[in-house]
Subunit: 203 residues, 2 copies
Amino acid sequence: MATLPRPIDFYFDFSSPYSYIASEWIDALAARHGRTVNWKAILLGATFQAAELKSPVSYPIKREYSLHDFERSARFAGVPIRNPEKFPIPTQNAARVFWWLADQDRERATQWARHCLRAYFARGVDLSDVAQLRALADDFGIGADTAEAVWNDPVWKARLKAENEAAIAAGVFGAPFFVVDGEPFWGNDRRPQIERWLEKGPF
Amino acid sequence: MATLPRPIDFYFDFSSPYSYIASEWIDALAARHGRTVNWKAILLGATFQAAELKSPVSYPIKREYSLHDFERSARFAGVPIRNPEKFPIPTQNAARVFWWLADQDRERATQWARHCLRAYFARGVDLSDVAQLRALADDFGIGADTAEAVWNDPVWKARLKAENEAAIAAGVFGAPFFVVDGEPFWGNDRRPQIERWLEKGPF
């Protein structure tokens, strides 16, 4: 009897440009190979701390290259982007709403993630600003007050913390990070390798 | 009157696995687009210091992933590799011989780079060991004594230092690092973007 192919784990941070780019291709790529995608919002701050890493834009010389590469890599992937003025930003509120939605309906949580990532990276909406995130929740149809209650709720704070810890335990040290059949792939630029794996299996 | 297409600058370090992988495809890719490649040996230690960076294998969690990814990325590119037991290693001696050769014959210097990269990454020859590097110089036909005299010569020590400084001034913070028509690309995984650039120009 055939077993169902395992879903792809896709770890992302709402403030990660390479996560945003990957979020625009991962579902279609998975679908072409009969796979689904298990989106997982994390905080890069937590994984960076565990792995003693920092954002690429926090280093001299590498910073300028990285800002240029964010936009060029998006153009290469055909994804609209404009580097946000405020970057990086804390994104725990958007991430807590994600996990609250995921417990009810994973597909709806994925839609929320896309809604927020596009708002931040294509239109400059600041996800760390309460008023702007409330407006996004209203647009999305969950209501600003409901969303704000979720991100202030200790239950969803604890949930996000647990998800970060689970990610670190799974070997995640950056984003986007993919796990396919137990195999880890880090970065938007691992797309060709993921594609090969899905087409032909382990290499 | 048509102008000749500009050569591609290819910065590499003899102890960088991603540089080794890139060294196996860059010349053929360039040739398909009527370009030549200007190989430039540098020391990652110098560029890391300027950009306040460290090797990916010096971080917890990321280390294990990176060692796995070196070998997987090589297999993906069809390049034979075996992670060397001693890694990373200091490679200033091999790099000084490179620049000494480059002043006489760039193509011969490129061959020396390939000779050393393959020895280290495919056969485990330790380039930081004087006896092993002397043997490589003999195999290559420049003579062990000549090679050793070069790497101990203040002239070639100064030359490598100047090349590192020029690389840093050009924005190089890691390896492999490519500059195509003034456009910087960092990493073996920028191959598809370099290919697009060569095919269709700026994007």
